[in-house]
């Protein structure tokens, strides 16, 4: 019998392929290794990221689902809650013990109840509504607060870039 982490990841993968949620495609990069996934996230409608398709990489720890996976966008993205190297900073990806920003209540943190699907849905809602209290990208947070037009412009440029349109 395979390890419990592997079995759960396979179950989640099956669930995601059978019942794909809107705007999300996710699965292992290589079916020999279920601990590294690739996800494609569509920018939510009615936001400045609308129409974009953003690729991201999910890395699962050996003790998944007891510990949360890590998520990193592999494209250029400018967002208050995403570090400039693409790492995503949202509370669902943090175990209750660690709180890098000191602003999250433990109720929204990682627990085995969460899943890849829930993470990706949270990321979509994060794209739609940035949390400018968490300064993963301070410049983006500042621009989001003070100069929304410029922020939208940058976002639009990134959306075009993900679609391969100059």
């Amino acid at each position: 019998m395979a390890g419990s982490a592997l079995r759960r990841l396979m179950a989640e993968y099956k669930q995601l392929t059978l019942n794909p949620p809107e705007g999300i495609i996710a699965g292992p990069i290589n079916e020999e290794n279920f601990f590294e996934w690739e996800a494609l996230i569509t920018g939510p409608e009615g936001t400045c990221f609308e129409g974009g398709v953003f690729p991201a990489k999910l890395t699962f720890p050996p003790d998944y689902p007891l510990s949360p996976p890590k998520m990193q966008f592999t494209c250029d993205i400018f967002h208050p809650n995403i570090y400039s190297d693409g790492r995503v900073c949202i509370s669902i990806l943090h175990a209750p013990g660690d709180d890098p920003m000191g602003y999250e209540s433990s109720a929204e943190r990682w627990s085995p109840v969460q899943s890849v699907e829930k993470i990706l849905l949270s990321v979509i809602s994060m794209l739609a509504e940035p949390n400018d209290e968490s300064g993963a990208n301070v410049d983006a947070a500042k621009m989001w607060r003070e100069d929304r037009n410029q922020f939208n412009e940058i976002a639009e440029k990134l959306v075009r870039k993900t679609l391969g349109i100059p």
């Binding site: 019998m1 419990s4 279920f34 689902p65």
Partner: protein
């Protein structure tokens, strides 16, 4: 490609050097002497040797590992970098014996170390891949045997050399290979555990525990080795700075393994003593899937005080990390087990209060809620209806909380609010009220009083929760009443329907997790699908008459929710 170029250039250079020497000296022995005397020629030969080692490494990697994965490669690079710096540090300690042979031995050590690291990563990978071929097993087994044999050989060699010639750099090698052989052992044990797990038909729950203890024992051996090494080095040479980083990590890992074992033991103990096994009926009632591993629960499962059920083994590994319920985050350590503690505490509290100064000089806020002049809506309804449901006894001021909570039959935990402790609280006697003058009490009494205060607050919170449940029930009943009067049905039907309705109501509201009493009206259709036909016809005829766009929206939402729930059930 670049590497190919370099090795080709090196090979050409070496041939030139050798040919040149042979051309000048014409004979084997003089040419060897010529080469060893000439520094440039030796440099070329060293580079050639290094490249030879490199090629051998690549070859071995191909044989034993095939293609390296990116993470394995990154890991290897990172560790090599540290190992090379440490080797350079080691050179400073042994600068007196700095010879080509010495460098060669260190290179060999690094070379073998890198294979140990790779083997470690590869065996960890066993848990991550669904496809493990027989090639994998052959490779790992032969590699482990080879590495183990080499390590043993070098340890013996180092021992002999130290015995015969006294302490030298061989001490470092002996020690390094001893550490490596513990690594080989560790990998071997892990490999065996993983293989057994892979070949078993059912999940092997205790594997995690075995791994934990392996880690602990191996960590302990390594720590002993490092401490002994540093002690010996300090006595003979100087402080071995190069060993400090690995020693630090070893000690840290050991500490972690140790605390893991302790946490795991505590978790197991708690689970065995505090939480009951889930009965088959309870498993049937819940949706039967363990939220941690997303697999069905057929065997060993435990029920937490919050009524959430999980696999025993899943819960154990989770409790090693956090002592909360994975679903509702109830803190397990702070809340007592379902039955015993609360029951025992309250009678114990009673004599305490009696010993304290005059009873109830301060009005009890908790009583005021119930002793309020007007009868509570629940009763009002019952009286107005002229029919008292048999389960509802008249509320008495003393035991107010208890019968009220019980008046909602078959009660599950109240919706939305996470109770600070398990729901059916055996709360017979109201908590004692603190005395007005605290100065009278001794320290001991104060401490006990403090303990009681905590319980009182908990009791008040619980009481408020009960009130909320009760109000929900009252609103529900009012609504039933409305339905009944609207349709001019006979009172007997109405009372019987209200009796059966209430528990279902509480379940619906619990699962919908958005229950406010104002929404009750819209829950009628939800019940239609699951309940008796009497109510069915009643509410169905009721619904169209009161439809507003808003309600229509809510009903749709509810339908979607129900569909989702139905979809979940077959899984």
């Amino acid at each position: 490609m670049r590497f190919l170029g370099i090795s080709f250039v090196s090979f050409v250079l070496t041939s030139v050097v050798v040919a040149n020497a042979y051309y000048q000296k014409k004979q084997f022995y003089p040419s060897v002497v010529y080469i060893t005397k000439s520094n440039p020629s030796m440099a070329v030969l060293y580079i050639q040797a290094f490249i030879g080692v490199w090629i051998l490494g690549k070859l071995m990697r191909k044989i034993f590992f095939g293609q390296l994965r990116t993470t394995e490669f990154e890991h290897l690079m990172e560790r090599s970098w540290y190992a090379i710096t440490e080797t350079c540090l080691a050179f400073t300690v042994f600068r007196d014996d700095f010879t080509p042979k010495f460098v060669a031995l260190f290179t060999l050590l690094l070379f073998l170390k890198s294979f140990h690291w790779l083997a470690e990563d590869r065996v960890d990978y066993m848990e991550r891949s669904p496809v493990i071929s027989w090639v994998f097993h052959v490779r790992i087994l032969s590699l482990l045997l080879l590495l183990g044999a080499l390590d043993m050989h070098f340890i013996l060699h180092a021992c002999q050399s130290t015995m015969s010639k006294g302490a030298s750099v061989q001490l470092v090698f002996g020690f390094e290979y001893a550490v490596l052989i513990t690594v080989v052992l560790n990998i071997g044990i892990k490999y065996a555990l993983h293989s057994v797990d892979l070949n078993s038909e059912t999940p092997w729950d205790n594997k995690a525990v075995f791994l934990l203890y392996t880690e602990l024992v191996m960590g302990f051996i390594k720590v002993i080795l490092y401490i002994a090494f540093v002690a010996i080095m300090v006595r003979i040479y100087t402080l071995p700075l190069f060993a400090f980083r690995p020693m630090y990590y070893t000690i840290r890992n050991f500490k972690k393994a140790f605390s893991d074992v302790i946490l795991s033991r505590r978790a197991i103990h708690n689970m065995n003593t505090l939480y009951p096994d889930a009965t088959p009926e309870e498993l049937q009632a819940a949706d039967n899937v363990c939220i941690i591993c997303r697999e069905e629960m057929v065997t060993a499962s435990k029920k937490l005080p919050c009524n959430h059920i999980f696999h025993t083994s899943c819960l154990r590994s989770w409790f090693q990390r956090q002592q909360t319920c994975p679903t509702c985050r109830l803190n397990i350590l702070r809340s007592p087990a379902p039955t015993a503690p609360t029951n025992n505490n309250i009678p114990a509290a009673q004599p305490q209060a009696a010993a304290a100064p005059p009873p109830n000089p301060v009005p009890n806020p908790y009583f005021n809620v119930f002793a309020a002049p007007g009868p509570n809506p629940f009763n009002q309804f019952n009286q107005a209806n002229g029919e008292m449901p048999p389960q509802t006894p008249p509320p008495t001021p003393q035991g107010a909380a208890q019968p009220q909570a019980g008046s909602v039959p078959g009660q599950a935990p109240p919706p939305l609010i996470l109770p600070p402790f398990p729901f059916p609280i055996p709360f017979m006697v109201p908590p004692p009220v603190p005395p007005a003058n605290l100065g009278v009490l001794t320290d001991e009494e104060l401490r006990q009083l403090e303990g009681n205060e905590r319980r009182n607050i908990q009791a008040r919170i619980q009481c408020l929760i009960n009130i909320q449940t009760m109000l929900d029930a009252a609103v529900q009943m009012m609504q039933q009443y409305n339905v009944v009067t609207m349709h001019k049905l006979q009172p007997t039907t109405s009372s019987s329907s209200s009796n059966t309705e209430v528990p279902q109501e509480s379940q619906t509201s619990e699962s919908e997790a958005a229950a406010t009493s104002s929404e009750d009206a819209n829950r009628e259709p939800a019940r239609d699908k699951t309940n008796e036909p009497v109510i069915n016809s009643m509410s169905e005829s009721d619904v169209p008459s009161s439809t507003t766009p808003e309600e229509e929206l809510r009903r749709r939402r509810l339908q979607r929710f129900l569909q989702a729930e139905q979809q979940q059930q077959p899984n």
